[in-house]
């Protein structure tokens, strides 16, 4: 049976990018369907009725949602270029970090970007605390997964392409040479990696997008007061 693999994504979604990178690293061909989130396709709503979000992976007609769930499926279905280690303890550690990224690092950095005043200050404290753990975790390693890019690196990919966009748009510093030399080195290694860089979202487009988002959010908050 001819294999049918589709990825529903947007050009900028960092979560969808994880899925794209994983498939490309494994050399698995797939069809891309770009969604307009302001006008979601009926297919997307059918495949992901609960969250109504991207990414969605559809493999031979069977849909999956939630990027980390999709990454594990990709890993189990296509065994070449493994993204997770074999050892159960190391796998657990990788899963721990992937979750830490989504549960703790991302929300605090997002709040530094989107919030103001005291909320922003508090978010910065949390974000710096989280970033310190990431910096420590990189000690002696080129990538979070070791010598090669793995699931944790893909999960943290948004740090490599979004954080400096947030910094520029908002006028804050989150990651710097003094406190995060290893994280900056990781970012450069990740960005330069073949395959990863071929699917790198346009920085200019990201700046425009997040600038607009911040303006809209700030205006909405001001109107609500």
């Amino acid at each position: 049976m001819a294999e049918e693999l589709k990825v529903f994504r947007t050009w900028s979604s960092p979560f969808a990018l994880r899925v794209v990178w994983a498939l490309q690293l494994k050399g698995v061909p797939f069809e891309t369907i770009y969604e307009d989130l302001s006008n979601k396709s009926s297919l997307l709503l059918q495949y992901n009725p609960i969250y109504k979000k991207v990414p969605v992976l559809v493999h031979n007609g069977k849909p999956l949602a939630e990027s980390l769930v999709i990454l594990e499926y990709i890993e189990e279905t296509w065994k070449q270029t493994p993204l997770l280690p074999q050892d159960p303890f190391e796998r657990a550690t990788a899963r721990f970090w992937a979750r830490f990224g989504d549960d703790k690092v991302l929300p605090s950095i997002w709040n530094v970007f989107i919030k103001q005043g005291k909320e922003q200050e508090e978010a910065m404290v949390t974000a710096q605390g989280s970033l310190k753990y990431l910096e420590e975790e990189l000690r002696g390693k080129k990538f979070f997964s070791g010598e090669k890019i793995g699931l944790v690196d893909l999960a943290f990919g948004w740090i490599a392409n979004l954080v400096d966009v947030f910094e520029e748009v908002k006028g804050v510093t989150l990651i710097d040479h003094e406190n995060h030399p290893l994280l900056l080195a990781w970012k450069q290694n990740f960005m330069d990696a073949p395959i990863i860089k071929e699917s790198w979202p346009s920085r200019d487009k990201l700046i425009t997008k997040y600038h607009a988002m911040l303006e809209a959010y700030t205006a909405k908050e001001a109107a609500a007061k």
């Binding site: 069977k62 999956l64 769930v69 189990e76 159960p88 303890f89 899963r95 721990f96 979750r99």
Partner: protein, 221 residues
């Protein structure tokens, strides 16, 4: 090699009880360490420095934190009873539902029972919508895992048992047989299972605990 399995938990926590259910279903011997959350042990802080929370599983000196990460570790490390299906797509579906329960359901369920009065109705509506998805997912299955209890059932134990405790302690009713016949049936089957039954905290003690801890705040408003 003598195997050492330690579990740091709290008697009433659905998160550490999940891990115990999994270990018991697999027949793994472990040593349980009850933590006092108001006075965390140095061992807990050493084994989970980032989150400083229970549960933490320590296997031959190596610590694993985050309950769902621990459940997957248990399934991969000890053979015998399977917590996840073999088929990759079915495994992904199971992971999806486990994540759905923790990421989406828990907060509204808790808020509906214990939130501020003004927030409760909206939270209850949200919780009801979310529980409907679980009701649909059960279809004609005995358990979320099919014929036998699996990882999703274990994660959903918070709905099978703790929700009932919240309801009795707070007076809020979410899981009715009219709205959720399958889910109620499943809950009953789940808590009646031999291994599960032995690993649930004492109901009355838990009701009293929640009433004490969360009930008072609203009475004073």
């Amino acid at each position: 090699m003598a195997e050492e399995v330690l579990l740091f938990g709290v008697w009433g926590s659905p998160f550490s009880r999940r891990v115990e259910m999994a270990l018991k279903l697999k027949g793994v011997e472990y040593k349980y360490m009850e933590e006092d959350i108001t006075n965390k042990s140095p061992a807990l802080l050493k084994y989970n420095p980032i989150h400083k929370k229970i549960p933490v599983l320590v296997h031959n000196g190596k610590p694993i934190a985050e309950s769902q990460v621990i459940l997957e570790y248990i399934d991969e490390t000890w053979q015998g009873y399977s917590l996840l299906p073999k088929d990759p797509y079915q495994r992904a579906v199971a992971r999806f539902w486990a994540k759905f329960i923790d990421d989406k359901c828990l907060q509204p369920v808790f808020k509906a029972c214990w939130g501020e009065e003004k927030d409760r109705e909206k939270a209850a509506e949200e919780a009801t919508e979310l529980l409907k998805f679980l009701e649909e997912e059960l279809k004609e299955k005995r358990f979320f895992g099919g014929e036998s209890i699996g990882m999703v059932d274990i994660v959903a134990s918070i709905i099978a048992f703790w929700l009932g405790v919240f309801e009795e302690a707070s007076g809020v009713k979410l899981l009715t047989t009219e709205k959720f016949p399958k889910l109620c049936n499943w809950a009953h089957e789940f808590v009646s299972n031999g291994v599960i039954k032995e690993n649930l905290p004492p109901r009355d003690k838990l009701i009293a605990y929640f009433r004490n801890r969360f009930g008072g705040a609203n009475a004073s408003k």
